[in-house]
Amino acid sequence: MRWLLTAVALVFLAFFLVLPLVAVFAQAFEKGGAYFLAAIREPDALAAIRLTLLTVAIVVPANVLFGVAAAWAIGKFRFPGKSLLTTLIDLPFAVSPVIAGLVYVLVFGAQGWLGPWLIAHNIRIIFAVPGIVLATAFVTFPFVARELIPLMQAQGTDEEYSAVTLGASGWQTFWRVTLPNIRWGLFYGVILCNARAMGEFGAVSVVSGHIRGETNTMPLHVEILYNEYNIVGAFAVASLLALLALASLVLKSIVEWRQAFLR
């Protein structure tokens, strides 16, 4: 019975996870390595890669900052509105990414609430890089905070209080006691946040405007190439994304293994 269940699980995994992954790489290299390289080196593809990396470089540090601050407040303090804040942090998980993108269009778009003011001051958010960054930040906001809140709650506040009675200031307590205690959880949250920030499609698709070489991120570029029947090109860029996802997973399991080992 156990053997049967294991076999079922493995077959399922092979069909739904391994096979598509293999297919991505197989398709990407279908016409040989040279073609693959050419597809990646193409200017629009390079622009998409650059934009994705830029978005990640802005979004991940920002979410680390917000996530740590929110988790610190929720995990270590009692204040009115705490449960409301906890619920709000989960909002991006509950809302469809497309809706998230549309909300930004409604606020910042040409016909949106702030649209006329933005146009008057020549600030472009929708169909430009700032919109992509905002939408990505919204969708990936919960990852760091969600990872840290239970951890900080479980660790309690005694160590912080100890540091305070020993004369440490608030900053010293944070840098020397709180942060080292959450470092692996934080790293884990960063990895997840990073993976999602690179791969986000729905919200970004709504605010991007799909301008080639300007506002296309990697997932958007893959879609365009695919719709143009450039299968090898699409899969070449997709394989890069898949590679990044695999690297994230490897890092994540190293972190998990380390945590288990330390305990």
Binding site: D158, Y161, V164, T165, G167, S169
Partner: protein, 351 residues
């Protein structure tokens, strides 16, 4: 340094943790704050440390006569040891102890070498110098407790505050460590307050015991004073076993003299199990008749469960094992009880 608390109140939502507490701890004494859980003892300790603050306008905390109520914990120079030690889990034992010195401002911070030397000296003091490189997770409970103590002492506190210092240890280690704490206190002579719910612990090592109940101080005194002359029924029942008898019983027990407490017509009488004397029933004389229901003779003393004939109340009696064999008692025998010492509390009339 002496510590005073005047009229401290602290309310958490609908729960009154402290309801006007006054406390005086003389310089250099080891004082136990004793009470059941929820009595407010830990809250009081945290307020003295500056980790919590009394409700606005309610009371003051004085250290050596100076008002420190509004001074934050970091500047009160208190050493605080938490119930679960709260060691910094990512630091070695040595780094834990050195923490308080390392976070000082550059102006007052000792040199690196001095910090290390002092940390090692403190670890020697708590007999743990061999474990300086270990991490807290690699230590036993008793060792962690002593590291926490060394860490608290590193900042040269003027007061030491211990929250249930032995609460998380097993019984044998707990006994060893509390005797060690007593000797340690005699050596360093630092004003120390420790919170506990264990009356045996408090009575054994404290110079003075403060008994708390429901956010109030019930009684303050030396261990002997509070044990022998409890100020309230609560204290009587909290400090060791006690039998509660209805008053008419006493009138009979003390008739014809014998050392007995003042008779109360309709109150309750508190008697400790070892303050009851047993004599053979057919000898006659004053006393109460009781039937032996159970004899528990394992251990240094024999514990007997009696049933008083008149009121059918259960009574627990503790006598030496030689007395027991002298009396030759068996289950269901009749026996006569006399109360050597008993208390009644006027305010405890209502039943």
């Amino acid at each position: 340094m002496s510590i005073d608390a005047h009229g401290i109140r602290k309310v958490f939502g609908a729960f009154t943790a402290l309801d006007g507490v006054d406390l005086h701890v003389p310089q250099g004494k080891l004082v136990a704050v004793l009470g059941p859980s929820g009595s407010g003892k830990t809250t009081l300790l945290r307020i003295i440390a500056g980790l919590e603050f009394p409700d606005p306008g309610s009371g003051r905390i004085l250290f050596h006569g100076d008002d420190v109520t509004d001074i934050p914990a970091g500047r009160r120079r208190v050493g605080f040891v938490f119930q679960h030690y709260a060691l910094f889990r990512h630091m070695s034992v040595l780094d834990n102890v050195a923490f308080g010195l390392r976070v000082r401002r550059r102006r007052t911070r000792p040199s690196r070498a001095t910090i290390l030397e002092r940390a090692h000296r403190l670890l020697e003091l708590v007999q743990l110098d061999g474990l300086a490189g270990r991490f807290p997770s690699q230590l036993s409970g008793g060792q962690r407790q002593r590291v926490a103590l060394a860490r608290a002492l590193a900042v040269e506190p003027k007061v030491l505050l211990l929250d249930e210092p032995f609460g998380a240890l097993d019984a044998r280690v707990r006994k060893e460590l509390r005797r060690w704490l007593r000797r340690f206190h005699d050596d360093i002579q630092l004003t120390t307050i420790f919170v506990t719910h264990d009356q045996e612990e408090a009575l054994e090592i404290a110079d003075e015991v403060v008994i708390m109940n429901q956010g109030r101080v019930e009684q303050v005194g030396t261990p002997q004073q509070v044990y022998d002359r409890p100020a309230s029924p609560f204290v009587y029942q909290f400090l060791g076993n006690v039998n509660v008898l209805r008053a008419p019983a006493l009138a009979v027990a003390s008739r014809g003299g014998g050392p007995a407490a003042q008779a109360v017509s309709d109150g309750r009488i508190y008697v400790r199990p070892h303050d009851i004397e047993l004599t053979p029933h057919d000898e006659g004389g004053p006393g109460l008749s009781a039937i032996v229901r159970h004899i528990h003779a394992a251990g240094p003393h024999a514990r007997l469960l009696l049933e008083q004939v008149q009121t059918r109340e259960p009574v627990e009696v503790e006598i030496s094992r030689s007395e027991l064999s002298g009396l030759g008692l068996r289950v269901n025998d009749l026996v006569r009880m006399r109360l050597r010492q008993a208390h009644s509390f006027e305010e405890d009339y209502a039943i």
